[in-house]
């Protein structure tokens, strides 16, 4: 036991104890009463004292009780503390993981609840400022909740109630565990004064306290100094079956038939038999049993999880919400289902502007298009679109190695040299290019193998900063996506006739993907199925249009489009269906899914391997230190005073 204010207690004791004893020795003010003789009264007093049990003690029991009460009070003034962490005032940053895996219910409630509780223990253990002390500083705490993005719940403060409120205000998400950004924020707040200017003060940097299950996606990219971070592991179980991939596509030959592909993963060490249910607009269409092998350790630190796939096929001519759900009860619920928005079958009207490209024309012809018109660049320039900004006659315009004088608003797939005035600089000719890197997960390059693509000659291009490069040659970007004047442009930076790509089956797949991506059908479907924390974006709306977004947890937000007519909503933290209601528009539904093979792995990690530093989990939950005995002592004082009152009254009434 340590004392936080011993001098206060000593000063008070020096004053109060002699005072109490002095007061005790001062005679009780008794009422004077004349009697005939004290003879018999004295005998009675003697008899009473002789016959009373513990009469010697009884004589002074009031003084004893008073002294005990005073002692307890003085001890309380000294603010005794159990398990005191001594030293100057410390600063703590509480990093609380609120990603999807923290919703697992294996810690007497959710893991987030357990993390909150452990955080509360740390907060309650913070030392408060010692009364009458000019030098001692109190401990300070800061609370950061993190998933995909960090959120500062409370800046450094010594107000425990504020810190506890901040911890209670942390809401769960179904997002990913990304710690790096949270650490950067924490360090920015936590660095000691003068650290930047190499003028270090005596104040030590803040201690980072991480409450997580250890499934940190970017752990290997984070550098942690030894002793900088304490890891408090939350959770024990690993029993989880998740839907990690799902796609619904209409059949190429028969657009009314929908095929749904889903991949499920078992993370538990036991084999699992799960029922997988397919429902459309809430109506169950099919339930299939699926046996998933157990998760087994592989070579090194890799873990081979039991994976299984299931394919459903059903007929559905209209639009709908398709949901795949595994029905087995497990620890994590947010990844048990995946949803997608099925658009009604639609045919695209495509305009090909070319001087003549048989390969491209053939590839486009095999795509399920409503119409394919071919124009020369001259014809394209002479076209007078009725109102090109609002009602494009073609869903997608394919430009093959031509630079039209003007580009009406639309969606463009551009092969070869890019159009002018879009910010692309075309440089010298380069030869013998091969694809070295590409975004295989991009919907444009889905099922497209670019490994064998060879380009004999092309021109080096320098793209504007806002362009997304989807594929790179060894010297120049090959395929990129950029937006200009509200028009998305998918740019293939080489002439396909100068490459062997047009002979590859992947070229047709790319054309199909590109048209689907740019066209209304796939574009809207793609935008309607989002990952957690991916913002909802709707373009081409009227500026400053009010609306409302309704979340799956019966929560709604008022939103408004910006000046360019784009609506952005970033609060997609939970899986489920989000509906956007805009004035004078049909409501739009967006499906937000977890679909992350790492985040669904809820097996807690005993040691997090950061870049160059391994941080082991603290043994056991944090124990409360700095337990002040003040309330107990105050209670003791009250009990003693009550006891004294009872003794006093019994003494009078005996």
């Amino acid at each position: 036991m340590q004392w936080m204010a011993p001098m206060t207690a000593i000063y008070a004791a020096a004053v109060a104890t002699p005072l109490l004893v002095l007061m005790y020795f001062l005679k009780l003010k008794r009422r004077e009463q004349l009697i005939s003789s004290t003879l018999l009264w004295k005998r009675a007093i003697q008899d009473l004292q002789v016959n009373a049990p513990f009469q010697r003690l009884r004589k002074n029991i009031l003084l004893l009780l008073q002294l005990l009460a005073l002692t307890a009070f003085l001890l309380a003034l000294g603010r005794p503390v159990l398990q005191l962490q001594i030293g100057p005032g410390k600063r703590y940053v509480l990093l609380i993981d609120r990603s999807g895996s923290m919703n697992a219910t294996d810690a007497n409630g959710s893991r987030l609840d357990a993390a909150r509780e452990q955080g509360r223990t740390i907060v309650q253990s913070l030392r408060s400022k010692v009364a009458f002390s000019l030098t001692e500083k109190s401990d300070q705490g800061m609370v950061i909740a993190f998933a995909d993005q960090p959120k500062v719940m409370c800046n450094f403060t010594s107000d425990k109630r504020q810190l506890l409120r901040a911890i209670d205000a942390i809401e769960p998400t179904d997002g990913l565990s990304v710690l790096g950004e949270a650490l950067r924020v924490a360090r920015a707040f936590a660095q000691a004064p003068g650290e930047d200017t190499n003028d270090r003060s005596g104040e030590s940097p803040a201690q980072l306290e991480l409450f997580s299950d250890g499934r940190i996606r970017d752990a290997t990219e984070i550098v942690v100094k030894p002793g900088e971070l304490n890891y408090h592991k939350v959770g024990e179980g690993s029993d989880n079956v998740a839907v990690v991939a799902m796609q619904a596509r209409r059949r190429f030959e028969d657009p009314q038939t929908v095929k749904v592909f889903a991949t499920l993963v078992n993370y538990s060490p036991n084999e699992v038999l799960s029922d997988v249910q397919l429902s459309v607009d809430g109506d169950v269409r099919a339930v299939r049993p699926l046996r998933l092998p157990p998760s087994r350790p592989g070579d090194g630190q890799e873990q081979h999880h039991g994976t299984g796939s299931v394919v459903f096929e059903f007929s559905h001519p209209g639009a709908g919400i398709v949901e795949v759900r595994q029905l087995r009860k497990d620890l994590l619920g947010c990844d048990d289902a995946a949803r997608t928005i099925l658009q009604p079958p639609a045919k695209l009207n495509v305009l090909l502007v070319t001087e003549g490209n048989l390969a491209l024309q053939s590839a486009l012809k095999v795509c399920p298009l409503g119409s394919l018109n071919v124009r020369t660049p001259v014809q394209f320039d002479s076209m007078d679109p009725i109102d090109p900004d609002t009602a494009a006659p073609y869903d997608v315009i394919v430009l093959d190695n031509c630079s039209p004088a003007k580009l009406p608003r639309g969606r463009y797939l551009i092969f070869g040299s890019p159009p002018k005035n879009v910010g692309i600089e075309v440089g010298d000719e380069i030869t013998n290019q091969v694809a070295v890197d590409w975004e295989a997960r991009s919907p444009v390059l889905e099922f497209v193998d670019l490994s064998g693509v060879f380009v004999a000659k092309t021109r080096k291009m320098t793209l504007p900063r806002d362009a997304d490069i989807l594929c790179e040659f060894n010297n120049s970007p090959a395929i990129s996506l950029l937006r200009r004047h509200g028009s998305p442009m998918l740019l293939v930076g080489f002439d396909v006739l100068e490459s062997n790509w047009c002979f590859e089956p992947g070229f047709v797949m790319f054309c199909y993907n590109a048209l689907s991506f740019l066209g209304t059908e796939t574009a809207s479907a793609q935008e309607s199925s989002l990952r957690v924390s991916t913002p909802i974006t709707i373009e081409g709306l009227s500026p400053d249009l009010p609306g409302k977004v309704i979340a799956p947890v019966e929560k709604s937000w008022d939103v408004r489009t910006d000046a360019s007519g784009t609506l952005r909503f970033a609060g997609t933290n939970l899986t489920g269906l989000y509906s956007v209601h805009l004035e004078d528009c049909e409501p739009k539904v967006f499906a937000v899914n977890s679909l992350d093979i790492d985040e669904s792995n809820i097996t807690p990690v005993r040691e997090i391997v950061f870049s160059g530093e391994m941080v082991k989990a603290q043994s056991g939950a944090p124990q409360r230190s700095n337990v002040e005995l003040l309330p107990l002592l105050v209670l003791l004082v009250l009990v003693l005073v009550l006891l004294e009152w009872i003794v006093y009254n019994s003494k009078v009434k005996l």
Partner: protein, 304 residues
């Protein structure tokens, strides 16, 4: 008798006792269980055979006997000399000793009122029966004394003494007893009226008063407040006689112990008296004196 008390003296016995009570006292006399010898013939029949009209017994004549008491009728019948023995009527010394220490002024009503009434009644009875009466008051020793009074003429003096004597000063019973017994003469009845709450003890004083010639009556007068005190709270009890202080926190247990001690003390006094042939009477100053004299003391044989 009422005329005797209605003298010109400003202090009269009727100030203490009402006329009706006095009239009833006229019929009483001080009795003695022993026939005690007095200095002169009075109205009391003593056990000593003497010159009197009341025949008691006969005894054979021995040489030297007064021939005037020979029963000649028996001599005529039996031819033997027998003396006629008569019960000699002797005067009785009634010594009433009244405690006038400060403690007698305690109580509601004060004990001294009852004690003075009782003393007046007893002395009245003794005087009207032509007994020799001595009235003494004591506190810190013998305070005052009216010795050897006989006849109704002394009633006013007695009333004067009783009414003018204030209760004051400490009790020195042993010293008072020594002084009283030193001046004691004759035989008779000695009646001590006091609360007997003597810190120095009552034993030595009473031991002096007990003698072959005097029949001792001990009348302990206690107030209701002493017998059953109604006190509560934190008190500083001050002794009225010596300012001795007892600080008490009055509780139920303390009152219980006080009452037990009071009872034990009275029993102790009673035992002491009984063992020495004295008669002990405990009275409550809150109760009227008349029934005490007319009934209780009569039953106890003091008056009859």
């Amino acid at each position: 008798m009422s005329e005797t008390t209605q003298t010109s003296s400003p202090r009269r016995l009727t100030d203490l006792l009402d006329a009706g009570f006095l009239a009833r006292l006229d019929a009483l006399d001080i009795l003695s269980r022993k026939i005690l010898r007095g200095k002169m013939q009075g109205e009391r029949r003593s056990k000593r055979r003497g010159q009197s009209v009341e025949f008691a017994d006969h005894r054979p004549y021995t040489a030297g006997d007064d021939l005037r008491f020979v029963d000649w009728n028996i001599y005529a019948r039996l031819d033997q000399l027998f003396l006629k023995l008569f019960l000699e009527e002797q005067d009785l010394t009634v010594h009433v000793i009244v405690d006038t220490s400060a403690s007698m002024d305690y109580g509601n009503p004060p004990k001294q009122h009852a004690v003075k009434k009782l003393a007046a009644a007893l002395t009245y009875i003794a005087l009207v029966n032509n007994n020799r009466v001595t009235l003494s008051t004591f506190a810190d020793g013998l305070v005052s004394q009216l010795p050897n009074m006989r006849g109704r003429n002394y009633l006013n003096r007695i009333a004067e003494l009783l009414l003018t004597t204030e209760s004051a000063g400490p009790s020195r019973f042993e010293r008072a007893a020594r002084e009283i017994t030193a001046s004691r003469i004759g035989t008779g009845v000695m009646i001590v009226l006091s609360d007997f709450l003597f810190k120095e003890g009552f034993e030595s004083g009473l031991r002096r008063m007990v003698s072959r010639n005097y029949e001792l009556y001990v009348i302990q007068m206690l107030s209701p407040q002493e017998l059953s005190p109604e006190l509560s709270g934190d008190l500083k009890l001050i002794d009225v006689e010596d300012d001795d202080v007892a600080e008490v926190t009055v509780s139920g247990a303390l009152l219980e112990y006080y009452k037990r001690n009071m009872s034990a003390y009275c029993n102790e006094l009673k035992d002491f008296c009984t063992r020495r042939g004295a008669t002990y009477v405990l009275t409550d100053s809150g109760k009227p004196v008349e029934p005490l004299v007319l009934n209780y003391l009569r039953r106890r044989g003091l008056v009859g």
